[in-house]
């Protein structure tokens, strides 16, 4: 699903969280939203997926205005992972993942297949019957990601996924596994918008990067065009350098020691 954001602003209690943001996102691409703390990344995600109303401007997802879609319409097409989950009830892991199927009228068998596939994808089979509350932070995060994936799994050709810092609690191997999964569903047509703090993950996996600063879209485009030392200094006020890897198209970024 393509996403067209035009002149989007979001004001709450006189603080302007988003200022006049316009950008177009191709259907089936992975879009990394990058920027310093408080730059409006989460606000952008919420305004684009329709959770918070826009103060001005609008968001079209495949020509539908997000803010006039019903809860149910959005639930069927959008999977949304908030920054932190606060599930405090002793559900089993598989039950949490199954909750992603709530908006759908699909058969129990379809739901079970989806849940099994997604749990395989997130490598959760061995903790399938554990109690959620007893899991580690990273495991809980993977369960929540699986729940969100199961919500859109059978509509991967026309869904949107909004992930707010999904890798925060994940170890290296699970970060990599998550992005492999995201790449494969993006290939099938899902548009993935993901807030990232790790610019190297953005550099490596994103098709498009949105760099935010103080509620504005500083720049957007291909990772290497956006995450330059100049823009990084503008946004983060730190000096960075690009270092080459074996793959010349995939360098990595480090902050300078100065």
């Amino acid at each position: 699903m393509s996403i067209v954001i035009s002149n989007l602003s979001y004001v709450i209690e006189e603080s302007q969280l988003l200022k006049d943001i316009s950008v177009t996102v191709q259907g089936g691409s992975i879009v990394a939203v990058v920027g310093p703390n408080g730059s409006g990344k989460t606000s952008l995600l919420k305004a684009v997926n329709g959770e918070s109303a826009a103060s001005a401007g609008r968001v079209l997802v495949d020509d539908d205005d997000v803010h006039s879609m019903s809860l149910q319409q959005r639930a069927i097409r959008f999977g949304i992972l908030p920054q932190q989950a606060d599930l405090d009830f002793p559900f089993h892991v598989v039950e949490v993942v199954q909750m992603g199927r709530i908006p759908h009228q699909t058969s129990m068998q379809t739901n079970q297949e989806v849940v099994d596939e997604v749990m395989g994808e997130m490598r959760l089979q061995n903790i399938r019957d554990r109690v959620y509350l007893t899991l580690s932070g990273g495991e809980k995060q993977r369960v929540q990601i699986a729940r969100v994936l199961s919500q859109i799994w059978d509509a991967r050709d026309g869904a949107c996924l909004f992930l707010d810092e999904p890798t925060a609690a994940l170890d290296l191997s699970h970060q990599l596994a998550l992005f492999r999964t995201l790449e494969s569903i993006a290939e099938m047509g899902t548009t993935v918008m993901v807030v990232l703090h790790d610019v190297n993950l953005a550099l490596r996996f994103a098709h498009q990067v949105l760099l935010l600063s103080k509620g504005r879209l500083l720049t957007s485009g291909a990772p290497l065009d956006v995450l330059t030392p100049e823009t990084m200094r503008d946004a983060f006020e730190v000096d960075t350098e690009l270092f080459p890897t074996n793959d010349p198209a995939r360098p990595f970024i480090l902050t300078s020691s100065r």
Binding site: L71, P90, F91, M99, V131, T134
Partner: protein, 329 residues
């Protein structure tokens, strides 16, 4: 496996139900109870005791226990806090206060007894609304619970005040609201109590939404659920069930708090199991407690609320210590 657990609960409830008919100041053998139930002749006094006194009391205990426990389960899910319980957060207190006030004032007005459940419902609804409103301003679920504890204290002291102001005749019945008792059970009460059955049914129908809301209000919204509407619905239904229960039996402590935990520990957190499990176990425990309250000091009897609090309090402390993080507090 959880379904098997429900079956065991149901069978246990049936056995205890029959036993409860035989226990009391006049001991009637189980065989005679069964024969009476099947319509066979038995001594007419025993028949009267079973059919007119113990049978309605048994049904009332089961219905009220189920109502209190499922209300606890639903409101714990709604508030995403395992400590939420109508008897702890002022819903029952509000209901008791209004019922007692109606009794003291309404007796002079000479209004029909149907007014007590209605007053209790309104009291419960008002208390819940206050809890939600204060909680909304406080911004967190904890502030909502704290508000509930404060409102509970205020309503119960209101009941105490009415006790102080009331005449001797009213006194016993006002004290009854605060302690809880199944002592006035008759078939008329049972008929009123059946109104909690549709409430429990709706809780069951809303199981999926209640599951989703445990993830968080935002997350439930992402799953297509209108949280505001669900909240109003559950709150009104809880106030209704609590109002009816309080009007018939006063405040029954701890069943609403402890039973859903027991069910979650044994059958899991899925509300499709928690709601029917709480209904069965709540009915079972209140029936057991009532049988105890009738037989401990026989022929006198204790208010059943004293028994449930006496057993429920220490047990809940045990749960907190034993379960540590797993209660999700």
């Amino acid at each position: 496996m959880p379904k098997f657990g429900l079956l065991i609960l149901l069978l246990t409830l049936l056995v205890v139900a029959v036993m409860s008919l035989s226990i009391g100041s006049a001991a009637i053998p189980v065989t005679e109870v069964l024969l009476t139930l099947l319509g066979e002749d038995s001594s007419s006094v025993h028949k009267m005791i079973v059919v007119d006194i113990r049978l309605p009391r048994m049904f009332l205990a089961i219905l009220v226990g189920a109502s209190v426990a499922t209300s606890g389960a639903a409101i714990q899910g709604l508030f995403r806090n395992p400590l939420a319980d109508p008897a702890l957060i002022g819903v029952s207190g509000g209901a008791a206060l209004f019922a007692a006030a109606y009794l003291v004032v309404g007796a002079e007005l000479g209004i029909a007894s149907m007014g007590i459940p209605a007053s209790a419902f309104i009291g419960g609804l008002l208390a819940t609304w206050l809890v939600l409103e204060v909680g909304r301003r406080g911004g967190t679920i904890s502030s909502m619970l704290l508000a509930g504890i404060a409102i509970n204290a205020v309503t119960l002291s209101g009941v105490g005040m009415l006790t102080y102001l009331s005449t001797d005749v009213e006194l016993r019945s006002v004290a009854f609201w605060a302690l809880g008792s199944l002592n006035g059970a008759d078939w008329y009460g049972v008929a009123i109590a059946t109104s909690v059955l549709p409430v429990i049914a709706i809780f069951l129908i809303r199981s999926e939404q209640l599951n989703a809301i445990t993830l968080g209000d935002r997350e439930a919204g992402h799953l297509g659920i209108s949280v505001a509407r669900l909240r109003i619905e559950i709150v009104v239904l809880t106030a209704l069930a609590t109002g009816v229960s309080v009007a018939l039996c006063g405040v029954i402590a701890f069943i609403g708090l402890v039973v859903p935990h027991l069910v979650r520990m044994s059958l899991g957190s899925n509300h499709y199991m928690v709601i029917p499990g709480s209904a069965l176990l709540g009915g079972l425990l209140l029936l057991l407690a009532d049988s105890l309250s009738r037989s401990l000091l026989s022929p006198a009897e204790l208010p059943v609320g004293i028994i449930t609090a006496l057993l429920g309090g220490p047990f809940f402390i045990y749960l907190i210590v034993r379960q540590k993080g797993r209660l999700g507090l």
